[in-house]
């Protein structure tokens, strides 16, 4: 996708994206848990800076947003708990409980330092 992005950008164009990925340097069993417990879109093992460089981008910048990730993950759980009765009426008990289970599992992986969320930005050279 990053190579395609480079081709679609005009010279001087910019890409920016958030990505959820396993924390660098995890043991194999921790990495497996990060992929198992994280959201569907837990990213590839390759460092994104390297992927961006290989795709031909320059001026690569990255900012860690894991603290915000944890805050937002917790907020979804809390808000779904607050509005539990209304949500049961629209989603049904089974679906609601499934979502909350997944979110709690994911929050656990963030709290245990297994998942990070990073903002990357880069420029297509002129």
């Amino acid at each position: 996708m990053l190579r395609a992005s480079r081709q679609l950008l005009r010279p001087g164009g910019r890409t920016a994206f958030f990505t959820i990925h396993p924390t660098p340097g995890l043991e194999p069993n921790q990495r497996r848990r990060a992929h198992r417990d994280g959201p569907v879109a837990v990213a590839a093992a390759h460092p994104h800076r390297e992927l961006l460089e290989r795709a031909g981008f320059t001026d690569i910048d990255e900012t860690d947003y894991t603290a915000d990730f944890e805050t937002v993950a917790r907020a979804w759980i809390e808000q779904y708990d607050v509005h539990h009765a209304e949500l049961v009426a629209t989603l049904g008990t089974a679906e609601l409980e499934q979502r909350q289970r997944e979110r709690r599992t994911q929050l656990g992986a963030i709290e245990d330092g297994l998942l990070r969320r990073t903002l990357f930005s880069a420029v297509r050279p002129r």
């Binding site: 996708m1 990053l2 992005s5 920016a16 992927l51 990730f69 509005h83 209304e86 969320r117």
Partner: protein, 138 residues
């Protein structure tokens, strides 16, 4: 040919985008994300604004949002930054909701939607000034 994982993800999001946007759902989204554009992930309004700054978005600039869902954040950035936005995703339910919201926000002339997978994007080279995606596999 989509992979099994892509197929499952498509089914999952199609189902989500078909759910009613009740007042409760909007209230939750405003409390968690800070706005009610149909987000179900982790990108807050503050972070969407940061994306707009990082990509130097403004009037006359052309943005592609990959995996746009219901238009968060690409549609929001069209409204807040004045850029032109192409929303791209596989589930048409999300894109339809985004176009309806774009109409309501008065930016229908600057927002288009294209049903496509990020693996086979139907655009000419050197088309966009900026490309954004949030928590999409790459």
């Amino acid at each position: 040919m989509p992979t099994r994982e892509e197929h499952d993800t498509h089914q999952r999001f199609t189902s989500r985008y078909r759910e009613d946007r009740t007042e409760t759902v909007l209230k939750i989204e405003r409390a968690v994300i800070g706005a009610d554009w149909g987000a179900n992930g982790y990108t807050t309004v503050t972070q969407a604004d940061r994306l707009g700054e990082v990509m130097h978005l403004g009037p006359g600039r052309r943005l592609l949002d990959l995996g746009a869902g219901r238009g968060w954040p690409g549609l929001y950035l069209a409204v807040s930054r004045g850029c032109r936005t192409v929303l791209s995703d596989v589930p048409v339910e999300g894109l339809a909701a985004a176009l309806a919201r774009g109409d309501a926000e008065g930016v229908a002339d600057r927002v288009t939607a294209v049903r496509s997978s990020a693996r086979a994007l139907p655009f000419r080279t050197e088309t966009f000034d900026a490309i954004v995606h949030t928590d999409v596999l790459c």
